[in-house]
Every structure is written in structure tokens, then in C-alpha cells.
Symmetry: C3
Subunit: 308 residues, 3 copies
Amino acid sequence: MWYNRDVITILDFSREELEEVFETADDMLKYSHSRLDILKGKVMALAFFEPSTRTRLSFETAMIRLGGDVIGFSEVSTTSIAKGETLADTIRMLDSYADIIVIRHSIEGAAKFAAEIAESPVINAGDGTRHHPTQAMIDLYTIRRNFEDIDGLTIGVLGDLKYGRAATSFIYGVSLYNIKKLYLISPPLLSTRKEVRDHLKLRGIAFEEVERLDDVIEELDVLYVTRIQRERFPDPAEYEKVRGSYRVTPESLKKVKRDLIILHPLPRVDELHHEVDRTKHAKYFEQARYGVPVRMALLKLILAGDRV
Amino acid sequence: MWYNRDVITILDFSREELEEVFETADDMLKYSHSRLDILKGKVMALAFFEPSTRTRLSFETAMIRLGGDVIGFSEVSTTSIAKGETLADTIRMLDSYADIIVIRHSIEGAAKFAAEIAESPVINAGDGTRHHPTQAMIDLYTIRRNFEDIDGLTIGVLGDLKYGRAATSFIYGVSLYNIKKLYLISPPLLSTRKEVRDHLKLRGIAFEEVERLDDVIEELDVLYVTRIQRERFPDPAEYEKVRGSYRVTPESLKKVKRDLIILHPLPRVDELHHEVDRTKHAKYFEQARYGVPVRMALLKLILAGDRV
Amino acid sequence: MWYNRDVITILDFSREELEEVFETADDMLKYSHSRLDILKGKVMALAFFEPSTRTRLSFETAMIRLGGDVIGFSEVSTTSIAKGETLADTIRMLDSYADIIVIRHSIEGAAKFAAEIAESPVINAGDGTRHHPTQAMIDLYTIRRNFEDIDGLTIGVLGDLKYGRAATSFIYGVSLYNIKKLYLISPPLLSTRKEVRDHLKLRGIAFEEVERLDDVIEELDVLYVTRIQRERFPDPAEYEKVRGSYRVTPESLKKVKRDLIILHPLPRVDELHHEVDRTKHAKYFEQARYGVPVRMALLKLILAGDRV
């Protein structure tokens, strides 16, 4: 099902297909500090038009640990894009050198466009404000490792739900499961876009938009935290006013469920207090670690299929 | 003939030597999506003092596919050159780490200078305004793949023939063959330098300088297009006036030979219309693809000789 | 003794431990142009918060030649650090991907801090103004290759002894040996910090601070040259006045010992005249070459222990 396939949005996949990734990732966990030879002779091209550390380095590590190699660029200033080359021509070039292309771009739809041009499979490593499917897979995988089942959970997503692509991808990912309730927690200025809410309705997901974390935190099994950028607010004073409601501190956690897990796609700034790290709820470093095995699983399934 | 040799200009090589590269490239085409072990244990250092995507990534891919490894830098801001180190000291350093050095530099003669200092072989990946020998090899190889013979063809080179190093390298490369006629098509401001014309005379190449593509396009077997940078013109209005004469569009191609092939070293901006891509004349993406096998051939011949 | 250990300062190691590195480096010299499989499956993460060429590329080459792989960043602008991520979170990320972390940072103590956070071993590739332990190992190794013994030598260190981390690391390294005399040669403005002098006293090293190279050069067996940055002087005229006293030229070398060796961590600007390169005293290019075998030795000892 996965062989030679593009990965553009999390919604392109069924629960069964995601389960195949997760089971392969369970397998890959054993090898996340070795070097296999499964992808020997395969070259991955990174086309990172936007900066990234985690996503880029975990893709590189995943490819290396499977025996493959990596080329590409992680900023546009030293590339021919700076000379005015079109995205199409850049992708055609990478396509003729490499066996798979991993793209990050600020513009919505860039990954899909690249996939239409390239003969090699294309993986979206984040484009525009909505899609970052491999991050969503890592997020869901982390939940699956901590709970028996994603179905039946109450999940809160906190932060910038309008522009944050990790948050939106996660919401789309969650919509594939029969969760109990989804809380969308954000200031009104940064609330979920209408199309995302429409999608949730269509899927029959019980969701509610709220403005304060405090009002719902007791109910949550999973709290997914994302950053709110001060720059989003036309008036900085406005930001200072609401800021406290979107910070997770040891105090916020006084009345939570025993098994609550806190996720964050990272990097974080001050929306998630460092003292939370020491609580048993903090699962974001575990989540970061899964970046390698989940991406190994994807690369293996796409480039080698069921071959071992 | 090739073992341990520097590659500084295309004129350092005979037709027979180029033919050896081309035959090896034919061979390498079979492996341009695998990983051989021919260069296992060899390290290539990239010394890119000027930005590049295609040249850099295809050299990296070529080295990787032969089993070698790559180190180096692709911009000077994060290097000790930014601290004032001389080119000689930088080359000495790379020479002590690596087995081959690939250099790109804005200054004419930088590659030759590097070759004099380094014990390892040095490949010129473009320096100054005249030399880019591996690009010329790729260009000639593309012609050779499309026609039985380079001898006897009528070839036009369009664009900035004064400052464009790919164009000049190609002209030098073509001068090794018994072509029928060479048209140098450019605005007077950007016409071929006297030394290049003198070289063509010495070689007995029938060439003619013309100002308009339209006047000669019907005769051409090969049209090599390069970019004209607006910045070359002291008066932008002057540029706007001539611009149309140096753009290749579907209209330009109305009266061309059936087998005309169009080449371009890429990246292109608007000198080569995207609708030309769909015509059978467009061979520039094929040409870009040959970047890997031709560079594989060179690296193999220089670092491993006839060893397989 | 070395297996899985951090390398933070040269003072963390005994002479015996350094000797183990040097003997392993002797061994590695044989392989400094091959690829071993000792570290196959190991990934090294470079966390270079400050630019570097030599240190970075020789670490990369060392890892590659041992069969390992490299990920990481060599500037912060394209990383999540630019988004405000803490050093701790960045290190945690790299720790979960890689098997060893090599860090360079402008802030004193950054490497030690990283080592406290990471489970993987951490190597300090230069932090703050005092520590660059792997450079000191290379320096000492170069002396050891040129003299039978480091004990008993008279050593001069020239240049910026206040802010230059290579100079200070070298002084600390030298303090582990029973040298005859140590001359600290610098303008008063850039003389050795009190804590370093206190350390030398504690170790019972005979040292003397002098202002002019000429006064002591006849006595030296080893002259370690470092750069003086003009920017250190509040008044540029002041710099111009003293400058000549801290430049090594063929004239400076008229009355030196026959076996004097001159070292420099490189890059150099004009403190070490290019004509000195041709004298038999110049050992700085040899020293640069040892960057690979010494770092291979360290990586081997830390990641593979005594395993061969």
C-alpha cells in the first residue's frame, strides 16, 4: 500500500495504513541506533525552502540508519532558487538525482505541486499553515505508545490553531479516530479555520472551541501544546493580556488526570514551562525521539515496500 | 590517461580523452540510481566559494553513488575564509583531509592555482567567466547521445557570451570537433571575447557572430541557450529593447529543423519559455540528468583509473 | 578509560590518557585515507553554534573514515535556535538522534552544560575563551611527533593569550608535562588570565610573561603562534604600534635553534608570514593534517573502546 507513494497530507491515509507505519516504527525502534542496509543505494533529496532542525535532522538520521544517503539544501540563499529558478525546475533537478524528495515550503500546496512534477515519491515535511503529515504520524504514534488505544480519548489542542501547521495536521490526524472529545483551545484571533471545523463536523468528531485551558484541563487524556507567536497580534498589549491562559506550568497541572500526557512538536519557547519536564506527564521528549523510527518506517515502506 | 589528473579547462583534453569520459558515462548511466563500491574510502571536498545547486548536488550524488563520501562548504560565511584565510591555506587544509577537491570560485584562475597547491587532483566546477569544464562535458555528451556524431553539426550559442562561463566553456568544447558552423548569437555588448574568437580562428572553426536568433535558427542542429542578466546593461531600457531577440518561445521554433535540440545549462529564468519544455526539441532536462553519470565517469577515471 | 567519556577540557585527562590517544592516532595515520568499518552504524551530531572550517571538516572526515555518519548544523540561522529554542532542548534533540555530540559555542561552559544533559558522550570543539581540548591534543601530538619527548622543552606561546581559546588550551595541555620553561608572549592588554597563571604556579611550571618575541626566540624549541585581532584594541593606533612585535617573519628566525618548530592552530592572517612556510621550522601544515588521525583516535576510543 505504501510502496512508491507520496505523503502530502495525513488525510490521504486510512487508519489501517497509519497502523502499518506504526507497526513498522515499533520494529525500527530496535534499530534506531544502528545502520541497516535496507536502503543502500537510495538517495534522499532534502528541499528545505524554510528553516528546520528537528524535521530535517530526524529525516537525515532515519535515511542514514537505513543505509541510504542524503543530498540537498536547507536554506535557499546558496541555491539557484536565489537566482530566480522556479520550484518546478528545482524539483525536476532533484528528481533526476535522487530516489525520494522531502520538501518543506512556506507556501500551501508546494508539496502537492512537487509530487505532480517528480517521478520519485515526495514527502511533505511541512508546507503552508496546515500540513505536516509526518509530524502528525509521530504525534499519533506517541499517543498509541502511551495508551492502549487512541479511540475513546479526550484530547486538547492548545495554541495557534490558525497558522500552526503542526496543530492543524494533528487535528486532522486525530479526526481519523473515534475520540471522545476534542477541545480546541486558543484565543479567538488564532482559532481553527472554518474548513478544519467543517472537516471535523463531516467526520462526526465531538469538538468544542474554548478560550481557557483551565476550563477543560481536568478532562484531558492528551494535551497537545503549540507556540503562540507574539507577532500574530496586531497589538502587543493584547498578547500580553491573554498570554497567561496559554502557558502550561506546574500550577496548570494541579487538577489533571493521573495519566494525562503532554505533547509538543517542539521547539518550544515559554508556552511550556521547563519545570513541567520533570513531571510524569511530559512526553514531548519521548515524542521527539520517535521522529527517527517513524520516519525510518515511512522511508522503508515507501522505498523498499515489504522487503526486509 | 585520466588517473590522478586535474580538470581545469575543457581545452586540456583531447577528443579521445573526452570519448573515454563519454563511454564511461554510458556505463555509469546503468548505475545512476544505485550505490557502487568503486570509491569506498575516498573523500571528496567541495570548496564552493560561490553558490551553486545543480553542480554541487550532482557532484555529491555522483560521489555517493560510487561509494565515496563528501565533506566541504557551499558558502563562505561560515568558514575561516570569512576570517581572512587565504585560498592557498584553505586548499592546503582540504588537501590534507580529502582525496579530491572540487572548487567553484568567482575569480579566473582560482582552480588552476588550487591545483598547483594541492597534491590531490582538483576539479574546476566553474571559475571566473570562462571555464566550467565538467558542464561542457555534459553538454557535449548530451549532443553525442542525440546525434550520431558532433562533427558536421551546425551549432548556435545564444545569450551572454562575454560573462557566461557555461557558454564560453561550451564554445571551447565545440572547438575540439569538426563542426559545420558555429553561430555566436548575442547583443554586441555581450559578444564573445577576442581571445575566444582568436582561439576559434586558430582551430579553423567556421563561426559567425550574429545579433538575432531569428536570422539563423533555421540552420541549427543544436541551440545552446544561456541567460542574459539585466544587470549587465548600464541602461535598463537598452536591455528591454533587445530582450525579445534572445528569448526562445514556441514561436521562435516555427521554422526549425526537425531534429533541432535545445540545450541550457540551467537554471533558466525567462530566456527559455516553459512551453518549449513540451516540444521534442527540449533536451535540457535530459542534459541536467547527465550531470550525475558524466561526473561519476570523471570521478571514477580520476580516482580509480581503469579499476572496476 | 576513554569509552563513553565526555571531552570537555584538556585538564580532565592525565598524561597516560593522552598517550593512549597519541598511540591510537599513530595507528590511525595509516588509515587517514581509507574507510574503516569500526564505527559503522554510529552517527555524530555536529552542534556548531559558531563558525569553523578546520575543526568541523576534520571531525567529519574522521567520523567518515571510521565508517560512521554525520548530521548536524554549522550555523544557527537555519535552525530552531533562531526561533528561540534553549541550548538544553537542542542538545536533548541531538542526543535522541545521534551517538555522540560535538559542540562549538561562544559561551564558556556550554560544552559542560551539554554533557550534563546528554546521555551520549559530548566533545567540546571549542567553547568560550579557554577550552578547545581536541586542538590541544593535536598540538601536543605534533610536538611529540617532532621531538622524542615533550618533557624538557622550552615553549613559547605568542599572541592573544587572553581571548584565544586555542592558546589557552595549549597552555593547559603543556602544563601536564615537565617542560623546561614556558614563555607567554603577548601585549599586556592580551596577557594570560590570572586563573591560568595560578594554574601554572600550582602545577609548578616555570613560566615567564614577556612582551617581545625577539627577547626569547633564541631559547625556544617550540613556538606556538596565534592571531591578535585588531578589534581587541580600543585604539587602533595602539595596535599598529605593537603589531610588529607579534609577527613571525623570516627575519624573526635568524637566531633560532636548529630544531625549533613553529605551530599555529590556523587560520592565520598576517601574524605568520607566508615565507616562513618554506623553512624547515614550519610545522603548522603537518599539525593541521594531524587533525584527522587525532580525532579519529578520540572517536574510536570513545565510541568503540578497545574494540578493533
